[in-house]
Amino acid sequence: MGAVVGTLTMGERTKGERRRPSRDKIDDDFELSIVCHRPEGLDKLEAQTNFSKQELQVLYRGFKNECPSGVVNEDTFKQIYAQFFPHGDASTYAHYLFNAFDSAHSGSIKFEGFIMALSTLLRGSVREKLTWTFNLYDINRDGYINKEEMTDIVSAIYDMMGKYTYPALKTDTPKQHVDAFFQKMDKNRDGVVTLDEFILSCQEDENIMRSLQLFKNVI
């Protein structure tokens, strides 16, 4: 009898003890996640970007729904991007993309950054788009694209294709692609591509110019 009572009380005590440490942890987590960010006014954003008020409204509603705290961190970004490319592994490319969006290198994208980049990409001039692309490729932001950076980017893009492609991907496919790219872009054959070379070469290529106009009506 005594044993039974002992057991019952012991059972309750262990339950209580178990509950306490987890509650502390939850409190800590809760404090950290209250960070919130609000964007500047609608008018200001409209002035800074090429979007209309309505478009900004639609964009912000979507953004806020996905990220109630107002910021996107890199992991969330990678997850989101990965959902568009379920065949392959989009995390590397998403990493580079994140850095391109996060121009201030703060580790998180706020709505303003998001909107600025979208404005450039969708409604910007050819030069602006190409500059943005150059900044994407120039991983270390030194003003030059060298072969290693380009290989990284191209490998990341090929990673998104996944394993099952036709024709099958080989180990040197990215390298060949990079060589072809440098062949076209590197005018003075110094092994790096500068912004001017890049813009010049792209403007000479009809295909690229035509394709740049395709994405106007995304929003």
């Binding site: 005594g2 044993a3 039974v4 002992g6 057991t7 012991m10 059972g11 309505q54 639609v58 509603r61 979507g62 953004f63 729904n65 996905e66 989101i80 991007y81 959902q83 568009f84 490319f85 379920p86 065949h87 392959g88 993309l97 391109a100 998001f114 980049a117 979208l118 990409l121 969708l122 190409l130 692309t133 490729y137 980017i153 893009i157 090929y158 990673d159 294709m161 996944g162 394993k163 099952y164 492609t165 036709y166 024709p167 099958a168 991907l169 080989k170 072809a180 790219f181 890049f198 792209c202 295909n207 690229i208 035509r210 394709s211 740049l212 395709l214 994405f215 009506n217 995304v218 929003i219």
Partner: protein, 635 residues
């Protein structure tokens, strides 16, 4: 596609600008978006309760009723709203799912009603958020079990037998469900009565009765009224034997019946009598015979046919067998330790009862369970000290942990069950969500197959292109852009494996036809990518049949999933020869002499050359293609 991804689609498409300088081909034209892009507020009337929401909110999940064009069927022109004649309370949860991306299960609702609503709105229950998933699963399981029990009870019992049932079936039925007929019920009660009588007789015959006249000693009643008791025993055994034989005859599967627990009990109950009949009245053997009579007590277990509770108890003990086993083991350890100690402590004492370690076991058990009979008592001081330690630790070792162990094991057992259950469910859940996701990726491949990627004229879409949402259009365009950038195409696993196998086969002239070696080759040839994103389809086995020998100069080019329908392609010969994708299933031919141009390659610049290897050597530098067609018969 999953939650909220539709919101990010514009950003993903914008990011595609980053691929443009790298693209080796021109980008395809984006889908024309016929509807206006501005957002509007929709009115949804659910049985009188009006909800309003942005159109974009509903468009987030295009594979549900509200997100697709299916809701147009419910549009009421007069009131300019969507009317659903469903439960408004439940709709609140459905709409919250669209708004927040998480589906919650309302605890106060009936689970079946909830599932019906989900089915109506086209939402799979697997996306219920983790916060509510366990509750949902538990309730669902409970419900299912209850329903199963009900149906079982219905079916098992009282459904009437078909009129042409044989005597055997009728008999079996009567035995298993005594409620079905009066005769069966009578039989049931009669056997029950006789079991009781037999057990009571066994008990009473050992009670001392008044001695017969002339002797002083008390006699057990069994011996005084031996005739009566033996008559009773014989009658009971006859009835039990008759019952057993009838059951054996009626059983649909005699082997299974003979092996079942109840039948074993029956046999054990009646065996002593027959053994007693067979065995002679021998002094030596009668001792053993007496022992056998103990087994008559097993007749009491025959009551379990009559009592549901007994059966449940038996099942419970069976289920807890491992926990009881561990308890026994730990007790045995403690007993052995203390028995040894006590034995050696009491060794010196003269005339001690602790004659051996096994003899000390009795003392240890009696002391540890705090029984303390007092038939074995230590005399030496060391013995008394250890004896007291034994009794103190007895309380600790036995009395406390027994309930704790029992409750702990019950908790751990349930937890484990829950963990396994969750793991199993998680796997199933993930599989279903993956299936849904796969549907999206397959949608792209299917779309390509349907010829939807023709750049030629955007207006006249092929008739076979299925109706897709704007989101799907945009997503497919995005994937198409990626294909153009990298100049490779998405395929599925099966095609890829086939291509890889043909790739590897071309090298080898070996005659091995074992599938394992083919698969081995596949992995060595195709495991170049460091990151394996295993994209398993339902049938991921490489079905390369090497049985049929084809004619040497025909190529069977079956419809390939990708890359065959580009009638507009302006690309060079190199690219188009890839269309000679050979389906491994029908192709085991030797060196092809004459290339048969595939039916749907529009590229006429394919020169007619006698040997395919020749053609393909001029093609792209990738050695892949040459390997593809240099095939040696392997049969």
């Amino acid at each position: 596609m999953a939650a909220g991804v539709a919101t990010w689609m514009p950003f993903a498409r914008a990011a595609a600008v980053g691929w443009l300088p790298l693209a080796q081909k021109t980008m395809p034209k984006p889908p024309v978006d016929k509807k206006s892009r501005s957002d509007e507020i929709l009115f949804v009337n659910v049985s009188g309760l009006r909800f309003q929401t942005w159109k974009n909110t509903l468009d987030r999940y295009p594979d549900t009723l509200l997100g697709s064009s299916e809701k147009e069927f419910f549009y009421n022109e007069e009131t300019q709203e969507y009317f659903f004649d469903r439960d408004p309370e439940m709709f609140r949860h459905i709409l919250n799912f669209f708004r927040t991306g998480k589906l919650h299960y309302p605890r106060h609702e009936c689970i079946q009603a909830f599932e019906e609503e989900l089915a109506f709105y086209g939402i799979i229950p697997e996306i219920i958020g983790d916060c509510c998933m366990e509750e949902y699963r538990d309730r669902k399981k409970e419900n299912q079990e209850r329903l199963a029990e009900d149906t079982e009870a219905e079916n098992a019992g009282d459904a009437p037998l078909p009129p042409d049932a044989t005597l055997r079936e009728r008999l079996w039925r009567a035995f298993e469900n005594p409620h079905t007929s009066t005769m069966a019920l009578v039989f049931y009660y009669v056997t029950g009565f006789f079991i009781a009588v037999s057990v009571i007789a066994n008990v009473v015959e050992t009670v001392p009765c008044r001695p017969i006249k002339g002797s002083i000693k008390d006699l057990p009643c069994g011996e005084k009224f031996s005739v009566a008791f033996s008559c009773l025993d014989t009658a009971c055994v006859l009835i039990f034997s008759f019952e057993y034989l009838m059951r054996l005859y009626a059983a649909p599967s005699r082997c299974d019946f003979a092996r079942s627990v109840m039948s074993v009990i029956d046999v054990v109950a009646i065996l002593p009598f027959y053994i007693g009949l067979v065995m002679p009245e021998n002094e030596e053997v009668s001792g053993a015979f007496v022992t056998l009579r103990v087994f008559r007590v097993f007749r009491i277990f025959k009551f379990s046919r009559h009592s549901q509770g007994l059966r449940i108890l038996g099942c419970t003990l069976q289920a807890c067998a491992s926990e009881l086993g561990f308890l026994l083991f730990s007790l045995t350890m403690a007993v052995i330790i203390f028995a040894t100690v006590m034995f050696y402590a009491e060794k010196g004492t003269k005339g001690t009862t602790f004659s051996s370690i096994p003899a000390s076991f009795w003392y240890t058990i009696v002391t540890m369970t705090t029984l303390g009979y007092g038939d074995m008592v230590p005399d030496s001081i060391a013995g008394k000290i250890f004896g007291s330690i034994c009794s103190l630790s007895g309380v600790l070792v036995i009395a406390l942990p027994v309930p704790v162990i029992v409750s702990n094991f019950a908790r751990i057992y349930h937890q484990n069950q829950r963990a396994d259950k969750m793991r199993a469910q998680q796997k199933v859940r993930q599989a279903r969500i993956r299936m849904a996701k796969k549907g999206a990726t397959n949608a792209f491949l299917q779309h390509k197959e349907d010829g939807g990627l023709q750049d030629g004229d955007g207006d006249s879409t092929p008739l076979c292109v299925k109706n897709r949402s704007a989101f799907e259009h945009q997503h497919h365009h995005l994937l198409h852009c990626l294909e153009k950038t990298t100049n490779h195409e998405f395929t599925d696993e099966v095609t890829y494996s086939e291509v890889c196998v043909t790739d590897s086969v071309g090298f080898r002239t070996s005659r091995s036809t074992s599938l394992s070696s083919q698969q081995g080759a596949t992995t060595t040839c195709c495991s170049r990518r460091a990151k394996r994103r295993a994209f398993r389809l339902a049938n991921s086995t490489v079905s390369v049949s090497r049985g049929s020998v084809q004619e040497l100069d025909t190529l069977h080019v079956t419809k390939t999933p990708a890359g065959t329908q580009y009638p507009q392609s302006r690309s060079s010969l190199n690219a188009r020869t890839e269309n000679l994708k050979l389906n491994c299933d029908d192709y085991t031919a030797a060196i092809i002499s004459i290339p048969t141009p595939p039916a749907n390659t529009p590229d006429e610049s394919l020169p007619n050359s006698p040997a395919i290897p020749g053609i393909l050597r001029n093609s792209r530098s990738s050695t892949f293609n040459t390997q593809e067609t240099v095939k040696i018969s392997s049969l």
